[in-house]
Amino acid sequence: MALIWACLAAVIPRPVQAESVVAEITQFRAERMVDGVFLSAVVRFDVPPAVEDALLKGVPMFFVTEAELFRDRWYWADKKVVSAQRHVRLAYLPLTRRWRTTVSSGALASSPGMALSQSYESMAEALASLQRLSRWKIADLSEIEPGARHNVELRFRLDVTQLPRPFQIGALGQSDWDISATAFQRLPVEPDK
């Protein structure tokens, strides 16, 4: 019986989250421009060895950046006005020894046509482009109320769910595979000129 319990314990994901890889969002800036709401930020994290190993062996990684715009409501929970996503696929091509990022607004498997690809000579370059967000438009001005106060929540994470399934089972609950960061910012009321 002890054997069975041991097996079960090994199989069932441990609910206790191990210490995650330190990732932080810096230089987070939300701007209200004439033509929309723009975000700029830099995500800082070190690629864990397990992830790097998988990358070098040709397994693509998916990073998801999510932004949500909330309007303040004093009488109720804040209302979600807009939510935007940015998926980045980072892959290493062993044949050409090049790194490649593919950016799209939805899950990459579903909308490959909308993707924007770019190649890099090294992982550092690719990561740098991945980690930098500049003037990401998350909403049109028409989508937000002019006078109201808004909050922006920005989340960045390594999306394990898009990995191949056996990988997920292996990766589930392991701290090496948990890269995530969250930041909040108040949206300035007046558009910057």
Partner: protein
């Protein structure tokens, strides 16, 4: 028989309980079946999910959780069953041990094979997954990849070298006529496109398939920079987007600086860009190798997860199988054990004496038959017991009847054993023998005080009877006995002798039956009747000569008076007087005897006793009375049943006696005292009591016992018939006569005679 009435509710209850338990079993069975089905489906899906198919991959985690939930539910059910079983065991509920044993056996039977298969599969899975990943395969893939890479690099550098060589042809060609030399270069190199760029990234000229494009793809500034510093550079494009099905875009690009002949001259640099398509087969193979390598690496990295997945699936299946087995074991065990429990429970009940109808199962198997047979057996047993009980009841009621009859017999009945030991006796015997015979049961009759002689006589009678029975064929002996006055508490009325007539017979079990009756009163009655007859005849015979005697004596005196000398005259007178007096006395005596003998049967009518006494008392008023008589009459006396004439006689006789006694006491020197006559209504006994009290000399002890017998008197001139008449009249009235001395200060202070009469019965209801 009220058995069916008792059976019906019980049978109904049993039936209801059976129904309920059947319903419960049904629901449990259906639930279990549903759960097992769900488990099986889930298991199947889980097994499919490990097949690496996309759809199942998506749902793997969900399925896994669902399976875990089902397993948890099963575990809960098993836990609940286990708790119930253990609590039943704790409580010592009958049969739980057997059920536990059966469940354990079944569970073991399900669990052990499952565990075996699990262990083997576990080993198999972990080994086989490891065996997929081979160093050689990995090396081959790596080598293939490297080969592709090397080939591409070679091609690229080759193109770059060639481009450099070609670029030298363009050194002196002015920008305006560059088109032709470019064409030539393109042909030399076998390239697809050749472009010439200025250092400010302006297109100077181009040739090839894409020359008609409005805006040909321009190298990045970075590439220009690299080309300037390294004089030449090459790269591969289109492989990133290429898929095995679409490889047309894959091409090599080389960018070289066109040497400037005017060194030092501030002319601007020109760049030659050559584009050459990659051979499709090469690209396809390289991509295939890359793809295979990627997948291999993916799986190699994910093999831990894969193994976990397989083993998790296996473990879950084991759990589901084992839980299902245990659950089935409990349910099946219950099914098998139930008839046994029913049977054993019934046996316990029967052993405890409970013969109520037992539940039987309708199953066709042997156990069901057994329960039915047992129920039949119990019913038969119960019937038999009931029959025995009813016959016992009949016997005991017969016994009670007999006992009641015996108890109420006036005759005495004693059962003796051959040794004379009392086996049983009835109250009649106790009454007649005046001995507590019940207390002497188990002891010899001779041990009872005063009955030693009686016992001896009876023994002798029995011995004689048993000795002679064979000869004469007698059924019983009969004999009368007279018991001496030594009997305790002998009644004054019956004298000192009790006359018994006893009858003896032998009982079947060699015991001796003795039946006897007190015939003292019959004897006494016979005696007084005989005596009355004698008295009547004697009186008649005596009375006849009395008148002639008297007349003769008076005539003698009349004739001779004055004719004889005085001395003789005196003798004559005295003698005649004596004769006449004595004849008178004799006449009176004879009359009394005649009256006693002739006393007619009483005619009982309602009589007011008070009025009667008052009427008689007129004769005893102060003028006539020798001794004063006081009346104390109870006004509340109801009328009694009696013969007024005879009652008058009684009152006369009693008053006469009282007066005589008082007179004799006065003559003996006592103070004269009044005679009291009183009537009294005794409500408790429902009788009226008539008492006469005097303060005379009372009765001597020997007279007191026989006072009512004729010719017993204390008076000098009494006939002794007064009280005998009273007794006779009292007997006719069925009234009781008590006679006693009045004891005052321990000294006899007179006598008291009381009679109690039955009252007139009220109208019959």
């Amino acid at each position: 028989m009220n058995a069916p009435v008792v059976v019906t509710p019980d049978a109904a209850a049993v039936h209801r309980a059976q129904n309920r338990s059947r319903a419960m079993r049904w629901s449990i069975g259906v639930g279990l079946a549903a759960m097992t089905a769900i488990g099986l489906v889930l298991l199947f899906l889980l097994a499919q999910a490990t097949n690496n198919q996309t759809m199942y991959e998506q749902n793997y985690a969900r399925l896994f959780v669902l399976n875990v939930v089902v397993a948890g539910l099963l575990l809960l059910v098993i836990g609940w069953i286990a708790v119930r079983l253990i609590s039943r065991l704790r409580k010592g509920r009958f049969g739980s041990r057997l059920l536990l044993k059966l469940a354990a056996v079944f569970a073991l039977a399900g669990f052990v094979p499952g565990l075996l298969i699990y262990v083997v599969s576990y080993q198999f899975v972990s080994r086989s997954i490891e065996s997929w990943f081979d160093v050689k395969v990995e090396g081959a893939l790596e080598a293939g990849l490297n080969l592709g890479r090397a080939t591409l690099e070679t091609l690229a550098s080759d193109l770059a070298t060639k481009s450099r060589a070609s670029a030298s042809q363009l050194v002196d060609v002015p920008d305006a006529i560059v088109s032709l030399p470019l064409d030539r270069v393109r042909e030399q190199l076998g390239a697809d496109d050749v472009f010439l760029w200025s250092s400010s990234s302006q297109l100077i000229g181009g040739t090839g398939k894409s020359r008609f494009q409005l805006n040909p793809e321009r190298p990045t500034p970075q590439q220009f920079r690299n080309a300037r510093t390294q004089r030449t550079m090459s790269w591969i494009e289109g492989l990133d987007e290429a898929t095995p099905g679409d490889i047309t875009n894959a091409r090599i690009k080389a960018l070289v600086v066109v040497p400037n002949p005017n060194l030092g001259f501030a002319g601007e640099l020109r760049y030659l860009q050559v584009t050459q398509a990659l051979p499709p087969t090469l690209v396809a193979n390289a991509l295939a190798v890359t793809e295979a390598n990627r997948e291999y690496q993916e799986r190699a990295l994910a093999r831990d997860g894969l193994r976990r997945m397989y083993i998790g699936t296996l473990t879950l299946s084991l759990f589901l199988a084992v839980f299902g087995a245990v659950l089935l074991a409990v349910v099946l065990g219950n099914q098998i054990v139930r008839p046994l429990l029913l049977l054993a429970d019934g046996v316990n009940q029967v052993a405890a004496g409970d013969l109520t109808p037992k539940a039987a199962l309708q199953g066709k198997d042997e156990l069901g038959g057994l329960t039915r047979a047992f129920a039949d057996m119990t019913r038969q047993l119960s019937d038999a017991r009931e029959a025995v009980q009813s016959s016992m009841e009949q016997v005991s009621s017969a016994r009670a009847n007999l006992q009641t009859i015996l108890d109420n017999l006036t005759a005495g009945v004693i059962v003796l054993d051959p040794g004379g030991v009392i086996l049983s006796s009835n109250p009649g015997a106790t009454r007649i023998l005046r001995s507590p015979l019940a207390a002497f049961e188990g002891r010899r009759l001779a041990e009872v005080g005063g009955l030693e002689e009686f016992a001896t006589d009876i023994q002798r009678q029995f011995d004689t009877f048993l000795g002679e029975r064979a000869e004469h064929g007698l059924e019983a002996w009969q004999h009368s006995f007279e018991l001496a006055s030594s009997l305790p508490g002998g009644s004054a009325l019956n004298g000192d002798v009790v006359t018994l007539v006893a009858r003896g017979a032998q009982l079947p079990d060699n015991a001796r039956l003795l039946v006897f009756d007190d015939i003292s009163e019959i004897v006494s009655a016979q005696r007084s009747q005989a005596w009355g007859e004698v008295a009547r005849r004697l009186a008649h015979e005596i009375k006849n000569p009395l008148t002639p005697i008297q007349l003769s004596a008076e005539r003698l005196e009349m004739k001779l008076s004055g004719k004889v000398p005085p001395p003789e005259q005196a003798i004559l007178t005295k003698s005649v007087k004596t004769i006449v007096d004595q004849v008178d006395a004799m006449k009176r005596l004879v009359n009394e005897f005649r009256d006693y003998a002739r006393l007619p049967a009483a005619e009982l009518k309602p009589v007011d006793l008070n009025a009667l006494v008052a009427e008689v008392m007129q004769l005893y008023d102060d003028e006539n009375a020798k001794v004063p008589v006081h009346m104390e009459l109870d006004a509340g006396c109801p009328k009694i049943m009696g013969d007024a004439h005879q009652l008058r006689q009684v009152v006369h006789n009693l008053l006469q006696n009282a007066q005589d006694a008082t007179e004799s006491a006065v003559s003996a020197g006592s103070e004269p005292a009044a005679v009291i006559i009183k009537t009294q209504w005794v409500e408790s006994s429902g009788r009226v009591r008539l008492s006469v009290l005097d303060q005379g000399c009372g009765f001597p002890e020997n007279i007191l016992r026989r006072a009512f017998e004729p010719y017993v008197t204390t008076k000098a001139k009494g006939t002794g018939l007064g009280l005998a008449v009273v007794k006779k009249i009292a007997d006719e009235h069925a009234s009781r006569v008590d006679i006693a001395n009045r004891v005052v200060d321990g000294k006899v202070g007179g006598a008291q005679v009381s009679l109690s009469f039955a009252i007139q019965k009220t109208a019959p209801i």
